[in-house]
């Protein structure tokens, strides 16, 4: 199998553009609906989330199933009728509830828990998860996350322009933007379709994607540089085509091994890690695609236009044998 990378570049770019546009549309819609491009979780907007599970070791405590209407009643009585309430059944078949509401202070929360205990039974404190996040934390998280993203972009540009050249670095960053856009876009769609929320781990996922997705790009660049050194007279689009095809197995396999571990995290990781693993899978997948089809084709188009082959004097290259 040999891929005609440069000949069919409009096809590769088209595929990416369609996915990115779909994502942007979804983000636009959710901006109107939720006031944010992605459905923000508690981490960003603040609030209180109670995850309570009944203590079934107590006799009679779990005899009746939890009546969600009774729970809603309790919430409405306390003026918290707009909370979202979910019944949760874990793998042991024990029933619990998950409530997300506005920020409650310690008194309000204690009272609410007492009222719920009266209504549906004693909860097991060892199986309880309570998160209360103030509005300040969310802003902090968002701003430090964005700064971290920008810092790592800048760091990668600097490093790659030292190791390769500035234009290599810039196209690698374009590919990274592509990966980040596709991941956020798909989460925008998922937010609309099945209410997937993004939490602080999503920002971690985006940063990890920037760190890892550039790997495949580096491998291809490395090969382009090596080929240009051996045969500097070859037309650039052929050099790029060869480089991509020669490293294709590497690009696919390095991504595949990581996707395998992410898949197990997605399956076994539980609620917290599920979306994290999903975001990484999408991002790494997009990363492999953009390395093969976007960064390389952009580089050859740019060098074709500027005729920049003469400047291929490499600063640092590992000499072989």
């Amino acid at each position: 199998m040999r891929l005609n990378i440069n000949k069919q570049r409009s096809l590769w770019w088209g595929v990416s553009l369609v996915v990115i546009l779909a994502g942007l549309v979804a983000m636009g819609i959710s901006w109107q609906r939720y006031g944010a491009p992605l459905r923000p979780s508690l981490d960003f907007v603040g609030g209180t989330r109670l995850q309570l599970q009944r203590d079934c070791s107590k006799p009679e405590n779990c005899a009746k199933p939890i009546d969600i209407n009774a729970v809603r009643q309790v919430m409405t009585e306390r003026g918290l009728g707009n909370s979202s309430i979910q019944l949760v059944t874990d793998e042991r078949g024990q029933q619990g509830i998950s409530i997300r509401t506005n920020t409650l202070d310690v008194e309000e929360r204690t009272q609410l828990q007492q009222a719920l205990t009266k209504e549906i039974g004693t909860f097991d404190p060892k199986a309880t998860q309570i998160d209360t996040v103030g509005p300040l934390i969310g802003q902090q998280l968002l701003s430090s996350g964005l700064i971290a993203l920008l810092v790592s972009f800048a760091g990668i540009i600097i490093y790659l322009s030292l190791r390769f050249q500035l234009d290599y670095a810039i196209f690698a960053i374009v590919a990274l933007f592509h990966d980040v856009l596709i991941t956020t876009g798909i989460f925008g769609i998922l937010g609309l379709v099945q209410g997937t929320e993004v939490d602080s781990l999503f920002i971690v996922a985006l940063l990890t994607i920037t760190g890892f997705s550039v790997n495949d790009t580096v491998v291809i660049y490395d090969r382009i540089r090596e080929t240009l050194k051996v045969s500097p007279d070859l037309p650039i689009d052929q050099v790029v085509d060869n480089a991509v095809n020669q490293t294709l197995g590497r690009s696919i396999n390095t991504t595949l091994t990581v996707l395998l571990t992410l898949l197990t995290l997605f399956i076994f990781g539980g609620e917290t890690l599920k979306n994290f693993a999903l975001a990484l899978m999408i991002g790494f997948g997009a990363g492999a695609y953009s390395s093969i089809f976007i960064a390389s084709t952009l580089l050859s188009l740019w060098r074709e236009r500027t005729g920049g082959q003469s400047q291929n004097s490499d600063q640092l290259s590992v000499e072989s044998e």
Binding site: G145, L149, N215, L260, L265, F268, G270
Partner: protein, 474 residues
């Protein structure tokens, strides 16, 4: 060969050391895995202190530490975050609500004296209200109800009540005796089922208290005990103390305490007052059972992920794949031992970072083996192919790892607790993977080539052209 032997010895020693480390020093688990409560306390500027400096933050931290120690939680973590936040981690805390109440209050205790003139004025107003209420009752029970008069009377009552509430804050004047003058505070039972908080003053506090009680004794004016500007108890000092005041430097706050609230107040007072108000900005409580479930799940995910990668490598890369697998297991052992040695606290995202790094760790091997295959196909001998596979893949490996480190560094410096754990485990994992890929895989592969039976190119690269096979074997 000599070099390979000594490297092999080094690897064996490292692996044994790693296993010993893993057995001897268990890795510390984060709150999300062992269960517990994490609070982020936001320090807020007050009217007197407009800007939070390092000094205020340190003062608050000391007080928070005192109070946490009073809670009796083992191995708490208290650290400052940024310019105006304090992070408190309480592993295995039984009553997170209590912790929240104790840590959230400023606990500024203040003994105040009732002002005679204001008192008289308020008394006067209260009498007027009494008579107005009596008037009101008369009006309402009259046969012909005069609605207008009732309304007018009511308005008068409300105005007077408002006047009193406004005066209430001026009713008591500060005396200079505050929580700073306390030596000790303790919850003690009083008659019946109620509780009180017993106080012990320091020398200066004892004097001030004696003076204060001497002034008030027998006058009918009250002593106001204020907590965070709210009166919690307003006792009257008896006539018998008019001569000397209450001496001995002891006092007792009675009020509407039960055992729990008396204990909490005593704890706050012992820990000292916060110089500035605080707000608990974030609380996350995870039950111990949930933490155990997370660990269980992570083990499943880790074992399954590792197995899938091991199988993939053997199936796709054959003998080198097997060698990569051995390196990968060594990688996992060494990385885990490093976590234990460096005292990395493992959180759920941290475990995810570790599992993810297993998938990334073989990447270096993939790059090397692909390069080796390429060289074999180009007709080089097996030994030279392996050598140049390692040699030529190195720059790709280094470049791709450095970019991952850059992202990890950004995460580590700018992220919060959980995020930091992930960044650290991932960065350590990537560093360790370079070592194992280059040292372990290489040593093992060189040793394998030394064994004649394993010196067949098809073990390294399937479907090699026949002409290359013969050449490769030489």
């Amino acid at each position: 060969m000599q070099k390979q032997r000594s490297l092999l010895a080094l690897i064996v020693v490292l692996v044994i050391a790693a296993i010993v480390t893993i057995v001897k020093f268990p890795v510390a688990l984060g709150l999300d895995l062992q269960g517990g409560t994490q609070l982020t306390i936001q320090v807020q500027p007050s009217e007197e202190i407009k800007k939070i400096t390092e000094r205020e933050l340190e003062a608050v931290q000391t007080v928070v530490e005192n109070r946490v120690n009073g809670l009796g939680v083992s191995e708490p973590v208290i650290q400052t975050v940024g310019q105006d936040q304090i992070l408190v981690q309480l592993p295995g805390v039984n009553d997170p609500e209590q912790a929240e109440r104790v840590l959230g209050g400023t606990a500024q205790l203040d003994f105040r004296r009732e002002n005679a003139e204001t008192r008289a004025f308020v008394n006067n107003r209260q009498q007027q209200i009494q008579s107005l209420i009596a008037e009101q009752q008369k009006l309402q029970s009259a046969k012909e109800r005069d609605e207008k008069a009732i309304a007018a009377n009511n308005a008068q009552i409300e105005a007077k009540i408002k006047e009193i509430t406004e005066l209430e804050t001026k009713l008591f004047e500060r005396t200079g005796l505050t929580g700073k003058n306390l030596k000790y505070a303790q919850a003690t039972p009083t008659q019946g089922s109620s509780w009180s908080v017993a106080l012990e003053f320091d020398a200066k506090g004892g004097e001030l208290f004696a003076q204060l009680t001497k002034d008030l004794a027998g006058t009918g004016r009250r002593l106001g005990i204020f907590l965070d500007d709210k009166p919690i108890s307003t006792p009257v000092v008896g006539q018998e103390f008019a001569k000397t005041g209450i001496t001995g430097g002891r006092a007792e706050i009675t009020g509407t305490f039960d055992l729990e609230s008396a204990n909490e107040l005593a704890l706050q007072l012992r820990g000292g007052a916060l110089p500035v108000p605080v707000k608990i900005e974030e609380i996350r409580t995870v039950g111990a059972t949930l933490g155990r479930d997370s660990i269980q799940r992570s083990i499943y995910a880790g074992v399954a992920g590792l197995s899938l990668v091991l199988i993939f490598m053997v199936v796709y890369y054959r003998l080198p794949g097997l060698i990569a697998d051995i390196s990968l297991v060594i990688y996992a052992l060494l990385t885990w031992a490093t976590f234990a040695l460096l005292g990395v606290t493992l959180t759920l995202p941290g475990i995810a970072g570790f599992i993810l790094s297993i998938g990334m760790a073989v990447d270096a091997n993939v790059l090397i083996f692909e390069r080796t295959r390429e060289e074999l196909r180009a007709g080089k001998s097996l030994y030279r192919s392996v050598e140049s596979g390692f040699y030529r893949a190195f720059s790709s490996i280094l470049d791709s790892n450095v970019t991952t480190w850059i992202a990890c560094a950004a995460l580590f410096w700018l992220g919060s607790g959980l995020v930091k754990g992930f960044a650290l485990t991932l960065a350590l994992g990537v560093a360790m993977s370079m070592f194992t890929a280059i040292t372990c895989s290489r040593t093992f592969l060189m040793l394998a080539i030394a064994i004649p039976n394993l010196r067949k190119p098809e073990l390294y690269c399937p479907s090699l052209p026949a002409s290359n096979k013969a050449q490769g074997a030489t």
